[in-house]
């Protein structure tokens, strides 16, 4: 009886001691849930990289941050959800930005942080690449309202072997490019791969051409409508170029029904020589399941010049993709440490995991980086003046008009004048 009583007391004492020992460890590992509202699926680049960083943060700092990914399809579904949450004051800590017109409204309501200031407040100002900050300020009317989880350069990619086999030098100008397309077409090779279903891979050619004629401020000036308009000569020439290429069959027979990935497949399966796209596609180019022409066979020529135009080679289309906004109302003692770690380390982790170039400074290069990624990083570093994309300043309606009707422009069922007039009409 006495022994039983003593055993019970000893067991009880052990339990109490164990609970006491556990209590400090449990208090240090308070569970904090951080939500990321996004258009990407959980296995895509941003969520995967953030999850990896969260795991590393928890291990390094003995924390218990749980990252919740909430995915909504880009377009109506995402816009609806974000607008609803904004009206309820329930935007999460991280979320994909709305349109260039709507995101500043969230900034005024205190739901979207000035990223340059945020990086300074977190004590990591050097982690934000100046080119990215500059591009973001241009995008949102003077204030950088998104974290650049991507830093992209756009331009024409080309199949090196196809050009070499047909005696074509890498084009430096749009005139050279048109001549190259004519040579390829004559030999039964489709010159350009493009997604007419998306529309923007074709409309961006118009924007780039106009900026090569007028200079890098073409889009901003056209939006202001003072020195030039979207119906002005530089844009008319760009629209005529696309109409001409379409008429000559340079985009192939399936432009209107090709979606984003099938168009990329046309290029990566060696069925077209040139492909206008941004460097976010590096993830697909380095994927051997998709890339049948080989990574070494993919070249990047950037945006060609126009003979007699005002554009120069150090001006290139640069953007930060669909940025990630930070809700300053949720930056607090629980989330600040995690946020600082993620915003400082994202560049390193994205490059390591997915070969993704971002607007966040890389301080630890991975052991091996594909040669094409190195080439693109150098190309971005050479850019002195980033050129925005065609729809960057337009209203959503004008942008949609352009992307929906560019296939009609390319097929000849809509004239360049009508196409540009439609953009101006819808840009009010």
């Amino acid at each position: 009886m006495k022994i039983r009583a003593l055993t019970a007391v000893a067991a009880g004492a052990l339990l109490i001691a164990g609970a006491g020992a556990a209590a400090p460890a449990q208090a240090a590992a308070k569970k904090v849930t951080v939500e990321f509202l996004t258009v990407q699926n959980p296995t895509d680049t941003w969520p995967t990289t953030l999850q990896s960083l969260t795991k590393a943060y928890n291990a390094k700092f003995k924390q218990n941050v749980q990252l919740k990914i909430s995915t909504y399809a880009q377009g109506d579904a995402y816009n609806q959800q974000t607008q609803l949450r904004a009206s309820q004051g329930k935007l999460p800590l991280l979320y994909n930005v709305l349109s260039n017109q709507d995101q500043p409204k969230l900034f005024k309501k205190g739901m979207s942080a000035d990223i340059v200031k945020l990086y300074k407040q977190l004590g990591i100002p050097g982690a934000l690449a100046p080119a990215a900050a500059d591009s973001l300020k241009k995008q949102f009317g003077g204030v950088a309202l998104a974290v650049p989880f991507e830093l992209n350069i756009e331009g024409f990619w080309y199949n090196k072997k196809m050009l070499a086999d047909n005696g074509i030098a890498v084009p430096k100008t749009f005139e050279d490019l048109s001549a190259a397309a004519a040579t390829l077409k004559a030999k039964g090779i489709q010159p350009f791969a493009a997604s007419g279903m998306q529309g923007w891979p074709v409309t961006r050619i118009i924007g780039v051409y106009a900026q090569r004629v007028y200079g890098p401020t073409a889009i901003a000036d056209a939006q202001a409508g003072t020195k030039v308009t979207y119906e002005g000569a530089p844009f008319v020439r760009g629209a005529k170029l696309v109409a001409d290429w379409g008429k000559k069959g340079y985009f192939g027979d399936a432009l209107a029904t090709l979606d984003y990935m099938p168009a990329m497949d046309v290029f990566l399966q060696g069925k077209a020589a040139f492909f206008y796209m941004g460097s976010w596609a590096l993830g697909q180019f380095t994927n051997t399941d998709n890339n049948k022409i080989g990574l070494d066979n993919v070249g990047f020529m950037g945006a060609p010049l126009v003979t007699g135009g005002k554009g120069v080679a150090t001006e290139q289309p640069i953007n930060t993709g669909l940025g990630i906004a930070v809700n300053p109302k949720l930056v607090n003692a629980d989330t600040k440490g995690w946020l600082k770690y993620v915003l400082a380390e994202y560049g390193n982790e994205a490059l390591k995991l997915r070969g993704q170039i971002t607007g966040i400074t890389v301080t630890k290069s991975p052991a091996s980086v594909p040669a094409l990624t190195v080439e693109i990083t150098k190309a971005i570093a050479k850019v002195k003046n980033g050129m925005p994309w065609f729809e960057s300043s337009m209203t959503q309606k004008a942008g949609d008009f352009g992307t929906h009707n560019v296939v009609n422009l390319a097929s000849g069922s809509m004239s360049p004048a009508d196409f540009l007039a439609g953009i101006v009409d819808n840009n009010k």
């Binding site: 377009g75 904004a86 209107a256 029904t257």
Partner: protein, 295 residues
């Protein structure tokens, strides 16, 4: 028992729960939406009263009239074809397919339960041009030679045809079963008497079956037209409203205006116009049915 069932209070207590739910879930949002059509704004900017300006914009919006025209073309084509084919199937089941009728009805009904996106992928593959010609283009190239493939979904006219065919294929089994239920209700004695009098099958159908089937036929047409005016998933899954906006129906336009362009007021104006169009068709059909019944 009959006293209880005949009392007004009993009737109200049976109907009340469903009526309350219907009012909260359907009537209140509908009236609220109609109210929004007199306002401008969105969830970010707030709402300001704008009177009839959205309605004025609607009347002068070329894009709206183009989208309306497409919606009506689609709705009327699909209604005529799916109810027509459904009627044909019902008569086939009644007069020709006796053995294995239930199995055949099930097989024909099967597409009704398939998800729209899956059916759209099927039709997309069938009319594909790239990366390889689909079934239809393979047949075309076999008959007319290589290079004669047609990019159906790149043409506004052909894209409409493919959309109509897709919806008709999906839904005709449903109307076949619905109308068959009506055909089966035709008294056997009348049919037998007509046969004894020497009526042919066509005469039977024209003089006896169709007149007696009118109420069910009318219901099917009403059902069909109201459903097809609201088409959304077929357009999104097959063409995304393209090329351009040539296959964009009113429902997609509502969504675009409200959520992409931040014009909730104008979006609900278009939605209200859809409801009005449905009402007009329903009223016309009801009137026609009443006139017919009184004759």
């Amino acid at each position: 028992m009959s006293k209880i069932l005949e009392s007004r209070r009993t009737g109200v207590s049976f109907v009340a729960p469903a009526l309350i739910v219907y009012t909260i879930v359907l009537l209140v949002p509908t009236i609220w939406s109609i109210g929004y059509s007199f306002y401008d704004g969105n969830l970010l900017d707030g709402f300001t009263f704008s009177g009839l300006s959205n309605w004025s914009t609607l009347l002068h919006d070329k894009e709206y009239w183009q989208v309306l025209r497409f919606t009506l073309e689609f709705a009327l084509s699909v209604t005529v074809l799916q109810v027509g084919f459904g009627l044909g199937l019902a008569l086939l089941y009644m007069f020709h397919i006796r053995k294995g009728g239930a199995l055949i009805r099930t097989i024909v009904f099967f597409p009704v339960v398939l998800p729209t996106v899956a059916v759209a992928q099927l039709f997309k593959k069938m009319v594909e041009v790239y990366p390889q010609p689909g079934l239809v283009n393979a047949l075309i190239e076999k008959i007319f030679g290589e290079g004669s493939a047609i990019n159906f979904l790149a043409s506004p006219t052909w894209a409409l045809v493919i959309m109509v065919l897709m919806d008709v294929w999906r839904s005709m089994g449903f109307y076949g079963v619905l109308l068959y239920a009506g055909v089966v209700d035709v008294p056997e004695e009348i049919v037998e008497a007509a046969r004894l009098d020497g009526a042919s099958t066509m005469q039977l159908i024209r003089r006896i079956v169709l007149p007696l089937l009118k109420p069910v036929l009318f219901t099917s047409i009403l059902f069909s037209i109201n459903g097809t005016i609201k088409v959304y998933d077929t357009a999104i899954a097959l063409t995304r409203g393209g090329p351009g906006i040539s296959t964009t129906p009113l429902s997609i336009e509502v969504s675009q205006q409200a959520f992409n362009y931040g014009a909730y007021g104008y979006g609900t104006t278009i939605a209200t116009s859809m409801a009005m169009i449905s009402l007009v068709f329903s009223a016309l059909l009801l009137r026609f049915n009443r006139k017919d019944a009184s004759e």
